[in-house]
Amino acid sequence: VSTAEVVQGIQAAATEDVEIWTVETTARDVVVRDGVVERHGSSTHDTVTTELLTPQGTGFVTTHGPADGTAVVETARDVARLVGSRAQPTPVSTGTNSLTSGSAPHEHFNDDDLVRLSSQYSPQGSDVHVEIRAHEEYWKVGTALSADATRMYETSLAEAICRVTVEKRYRVQLTQYYFGRNQSEITGLLQGNGLSRQVEQAYMMATLLGSPGHSADRVLLHSRISTRLLMMAMPSLAADAVEQQRSRLANLIGASVASPKVTVVENAAAEVAPLPRPWDDTGRPVRDVTLINHGTLENYLSSPRTAHISPVTSTSWRGVDGESSAIGVGHVTCSVDDEPERFEDLQSPEHLHILQANGLHMSNDVTGNFSFVGSGISVKKDGQLTSVHDAPISGNIFDLLKGIDGHDGIRATWRSGNSFLTAPGLWVRGLTVGAS
């Protein structure tokens, strides 16, 4: 077996696009628990990727650091060596077509802010403990397609993982991820009512008497759960999954696939997108791509390889280490019509607010069946509040899309690799909720 055979389909790529993609990343981390700083981290991480974008879907990528001219040449040589003599990609010309995504200037988390935030709910001897793991990334990205100019942009991301532990009648641990473009946004979220609401929820779960059974037909999934569930549906919206018959949503353009209240839009540069990116990772400018419009499937996530399936070709992204680009989510926003219905404002009997999901998983993309063990708060017919602990919950993601009948207006974002999804808490029907 020759090298050329190994990389079947690649040789033709000598006449296809070659992309040089570079990113210089600086990152900082701070971990604070109950008002004490436990660790600081800082990292600079440069990556150079050279990829052949082939119609067969096979690409070669090499990554290096630092992202200097030498590395660009070496990655190009690596690719040339791997694909044989017919393909000799050369570094493309650099240009001046630069753009900044509009991120705020690079700024760091302030230790004092985090110390104050984590300690205000957990004074010494308290039964409430708050841990904040703050992380920030600052990217300088260059993407160059052959025979094209280099496009440059800068972007940033900040996130905080907040873990609240309460020891009362029950021991409860509630974890939430907060995402923004910079530390100011995160600090604002936490100082607003994000952290206080999280502590309050954990406290209620820890203090309310547990209920052994739940028969709620209507369930409110907290946005920290609804976003994870919706993210699991995204692979089915990828045009390559449609092409390879791995999608339950194949051949359904124009069909109803969700509740008429639901609209899903991809745009990595959206106003609410953490790590906003004006170009996708194959150098195509991003824009609003309406995937589901009031329940009707309008578009798939796509790339030039799958343009025959869906014409929108600017939704290819690399992995966190610069891996070969793949069709996926940059940033998706899910919105639901109607006024928000807050859990605490409702008068209707027998509803359940799932606040925590443990072990959330989907068996495979085709069936869409998922299950997890959920905890939260339940309202009985007589209005009594009880806590719910570790109730097995199962459902189907495609049925869930159709069963969305409201929202609570409290948005959260979930991150998977370099993909982000923002959605509110969702009122849904059709979940199987077992007893704990």
């Binding site: 077996v1 090298t3 190994v6 990389v7 079947q8 389909g9 981390d29 700083v37 436990e38 660790r39 600081h40 981290g41 800082s42 990292s43 600079t44 991480h45 990556t47 879907g57 096979t58 690409g59 070669f60 990528v61 090499t62 990554t63 290096h64 650091g65 630092p66 690596d78 060596r81 403990h129 841990e131 793991r133 993982i161 532990t165 021991r171 409860v172 641990q173 992995g319 280490d321 610069g322 891996e323 070969s324 793949a326 443990n358 072990g359 959330l360 998983h361 068996s363 495979n364 085709v366 299950s371 997890f372 063990v373 570790d390 109730a391 097995p392 199962s394 199987t432 077992g434 007893a435």
Partner: protein, 448 residues
């Protein structure tokens, strides 16, 4: 001008600077230099669908002081990390030239052949096999370590990790067979035909599967991969950072936490297990740690940071995916020691139960010990024998209770692998041990 010609010299250079500039402020700390090549991608539709060849390059320093751990890392070999920590960055790098040789070139032909043979073996098992998907990773890394205390060392970290998914259809139902062979070594250590055949067997065995039953059942967990359950359910709360946060085992040293006969060892010294190493990622020499001996809690897993805070010596469990990440206390190879029974005895002693052949990912809430994990390939046990297959299901419980409910352990020790995620860092972990039975676990969609 000083010339640095290899990674070992780079380690020595940074270590010398760290000792000079940081020893007065920090007594505990380590340097790591990381080099290597990683090939990863996906095989689908009988060809390589995507492929990444990654040249790994990074170095880091971590120090522990009154302000906790300070960690700095970079892919740029001339980045002055010691200066970054001591607030005197880039003071004397102008006189240094790094002329290090690149790591060896990746070899793709053996990998491609392996994938082709595994695919063919799976497809030849039955016409019902409709798709073979293999996610692959072949990594060849070398790390050089140095500690402020004087210890230096280096370690090779080869890894071959395959995730085979074979999809079968009988026209009315679909089934996916999972198999995750892996080794701390080259691809030649895994037999492609055997792996493809095994994944196909699991897939074909799942055709016609029905929903899992509901409620608490005895569960017989197969050896090897099934030890993921103990990894998730019982061992995460033994990691030093979780102990410091008051995990369920925080004050249980010396106390009974499991059924008698249960002995669990974290052992990074096993040959070819994917969690093995000679030094952890902070340069602490590897050693095995008995965490539970005959049902009694005997140890925790620590890195330099948590050991310093706990007032003990690191157990050598500081791990990170690369030098670019700050190490955390992590498991290496979680080993359940064998018991007196045969696998057949476990089944025959179970009138009605679940046989978990392949265990997928799991999750545990360390503060409470509650865990959930996926059983991706499973069968019912009826009248002491394997019966019909069941669809992928969830099994959940409380880690502490599971340890007490292990009532039979077989002697069929198998070595398998998994990937463990913690605060966004994924590392390969070995799961090693025999089949065992848990008297009851919550199985399926819901309980009555």
């Amino acid at each position: 001008m000083k010339q640095i010609r290899d990674a070992g010299a780079m380690r020595d250079f940074h270590l010398e600077r760290a000792r000079t500039k940081l020893s007065s402020r920090f007594s505990v700390g380590s340097i790591a230099v990381d080099r290597g090549v990683r090939i990863k991608g996906r095989w689908v539709n009988q060809r390589i669908d995507s492929l990444t060849v990654e040249r790994i390059s990074g170095h880091s320093i971590g120090v522990h002081g009154e302000g906790g751990l300070i960690h700095a890392s970079s892919t740029d070999p001339t980045d002055d990390l010691v200066g970054r920590i001591s607030d005197s960055e880039n003071t004397d790098f102008s006189e240094v030239a790094v002329i290090e040789q690149a790591f060896s070139a990746p070899q793709l032909v053996p990998l491609s052949n392996w994938l082709r043979v595994a695919d063919a073996a799976a497809r030849s098992a039955s016409p019902s096999v409709v798709q073979v998907v293999i996610d692959f990773e072949v990594t060849d890394r070398h790390l050089w370590f140095g500690q402020l205390t004087g210890t230096v060392g280096d370690d090779s970290r080869s890894l071959t990790y395959m995730i085979l998914r074979v999809i079968a259809s009988d026209g009315s139902s679909l089934s996916t067979g999972f198999f995750t062979p892996a080794t701390r070594g080259g691809i030649d250590l895994l037999d492609a035909e055997t792996c493809g055949t095994e994944a196909a067997r699991r897939s074909l065995g799942g055709l016609g599967a029905r929903s899992a039953p509901i409620g608490e059942l005895p569960v017989v967990v197969s050896g090897g991969r099934g030890i993921v359950m103990l990894h998730e359910a019982c061992c995460h709360p033994l990691e030093g950072d979780e102990v410091l946060r008051g995990s369920t085992y925080a004050d249980q040293i010396g106390k009974p936490v499991a059924a008698s006969g249960v002995t669990i060892v974290d052992d990074p010294l096993l040959e070819n297990a994917v969690g093995s190493y000679s030094f952890d990622d902070e340069g602490t020499p590897a050693r095995s740690t008995v965490v539970i001996r005959d049902g009694q809690l005997t140890g925790f897993l620590t890195d330099l940071d948590t050991a310093a805070r706990m007032g003990c010596v690191s157990s050598g469990n500081g791990r990170s995916p690369s030098a670019l990440h700050a190490p955390l206390p992590r498991m290496t190879n979680t080993c359940l020691l064998p018991g007196p029974h045969t696998p057949e005895e476990l089944l025959s002693a179970t009138p009605l139960g679940l046989y978990a052949e392949h265990v997928g990912g799991g999750e545990v809430v360390e503060a409470t010990g509650r865990f959930t994990f996926r059983v991706t390939n499973a069968f019912m046990i009826r009248d002491g024998q394997l019966a019909e297959p069941v669809l992928e299901t969830t099994v959940s419980g409380h880690g502490g209770q599971v340890l007490r409910d292990i009532d039979m352990i077989a002697g069929d020790v198998a070595v398998s692998a998994a990937r463990c995620g913690k605060f966004g860092q994924k590392v390969p972990v070995g799961v090693v041990g025999p089949s065992f039975r848990v008297a009851k676990l919550l199985v399926g969609g819901y309980s009555e």
